[in-house]
């Protein structure tokens, strides 16, 4: 029993030390609920699952914060992904990933959109930024345009959804 306790303590200590090391560049995923509407009075709906829905009749635009996982190094390559439901028959969900300097000047950006419509299944939007030119205080953000509710011929309404987004740096 004593031996078990001692080993457990050592394991916990070793894990705590490893956890205290500086975070290396890697992947981080966030729920859509972190995004904020920049479309004036049109507000998105947030479900308990953390998904963000556009239940209004108009297109809304949201901005999502992203954590940079680098300290002083120059990031050569970074990728972003947004997982969405594009329920609109004629409009698409489009996202722009941006790297901005600390003052807000966007210096690198890339964008992508969904194609077609699917009221049930999640689609991935992938964006690759060539190089993160920003200095250590520069920041990343994702901006997505989500179409309004689509109403079919029977009157049923379908909302487009931003479930989550991911950054790989």
């Amino acid at each position: 029993m004593k031996t078990f306790n001692r080993r457990l303590t050592q394991s916990v200590a070793a894990l705590a030390l490893l956890g205290a090391l500086p975070a290396a560049a890697g992947t981080a995923t966030y729920s859509g609920s972190l995004c904020t509407s920049v479309s004036g009075f049109s507000a998105p709906t947030i479900f308990r699952s953390g998904r963000l829905l556009n239940q209004t009749a108009n297109t809304i635009e949201v901005v999502c914060p992203l954590q940079r996982n680098v300290s002083t190094s120059f990031t050569e390559d970074s990728s972003f992904a947004a997982y969405v439901i594009d329920a609109h028959l004629t409009e698409n969900v489009c996202c722009v990933a941006t790297v901005a300097e600390a003052d807000g000047t966007a210096i690198t950006s890339g964008s992508a959109c969904t194609t077609g419509a699917d009221t049930a299944n999640i689609k991935g939007i992938s964006i690759n930024l060539a190089s993160v030119f920003a200095s250590v205080n520069g920041y990343l953000s994702l901006r997505c345009v989500i179409p309004g509710q689509y109403t079919d011929t029977s009157g049923a309404k379908f909302s487009s959804v931003l479930s989550s987004f991911t950054v790989v740096e």
Partner: protein, 222 residues
């Protein structure tokens, strides 16, 4: 008889005590013998071994940071030239700031290197007339359609995979919002890089825009 009985009972009690002690020693012996001595090396892969590795790596990292800071504080390799005023504050800054300053110099160098590569592509790439014409029209339309505010298009030239845009801004706000607005324009959904510059009171930017779905021609270090 009674004396004999008490003597026998006492003998049995002593024997049981001795046997009990021997048993308890025997039971504790394996644990005592397997317990590592304080000076013993931890087994490879054990938590103690990992702990030692982490300590060693931390010490190595601290040493590397010290070396990097010392290198950043060194003057330029010209012994006859006195240190300039611009170098002086870097030397007197604390190591953390010196490290950041060195990283910033490296970043600017890398940025210039990549922009030079983009400029080469912009000047040497052949022109795909169909794509170039339609994309130039899309870019012009994006600026005149009201989707981009606070910036004016001075010139645009497209090749096969890359367009270069010269843009003048009314103020910093226009420059800040240019790329996110431009790359949301249908048909212009590629990679974009903005290189800001100031000419007198004019705020200008050179924008490199890749063909939709393609990468900008930059050789990345992996």
């Amino acid at each position: 008889m009674s004396k004999v009985r008490w003597g026998a009972l006492g003998g049995v009690a002593v024997a049981m005590t001795v046997a009990g002690m021997a048993w308890s020693q025997g039971a504790s012996t394996p644990e005592e013998t397997t317990r590592p001595a304080p000076v013993m090396e931890p087994r490879p892969g054990s938590p103690a071994d990992l702990e030692q590795d982490v300590r060693a790596l931390r010490a190595e990292l601290a040493e590397l940071r010290r070396s990097q800071a010392a290198l950043a504080r060194q003057p330029a390799p010209e012994p006859s030239r006195p240190p300039s005023a611009a170098e002086e504050p870097v030397a007197s800054r604390p190591p953390g700031e010196a490290t950041l300053a060195a990283a910033e110099v490296a970043r600017q160098e890398r940025r210039q290197e990549l922009e030079a590569e983009l400029e080469v592509a912009a000047h040497t790439e052949p022109r795909d007339p169909d794509w170039a014409r339609s994309t130039e029209a899309l870019v012009t339309q994006a600026f005149h359609g009201g989707g981009i505010s606070g910036s004016r298009l001075v010139g645009v030239e497209c090749r096969t995979h890359l367009c270069t845009l010269e843009v003048e801004h009314d103020g910093p706000e226009g420059r800040m919002e240019l790329l996110p607005s431009l790359t949301l324009t249908p048909g212009l959904q590629g990679q974009a890089v903005l290189s800001p510059r100031t000419e007198g009171s004019r705020q200008l930017s050179r924008v490199y825009l890749s063909r939709a779905g393609e990468r900008l021609p930059m050789t990345l270090r992996r």
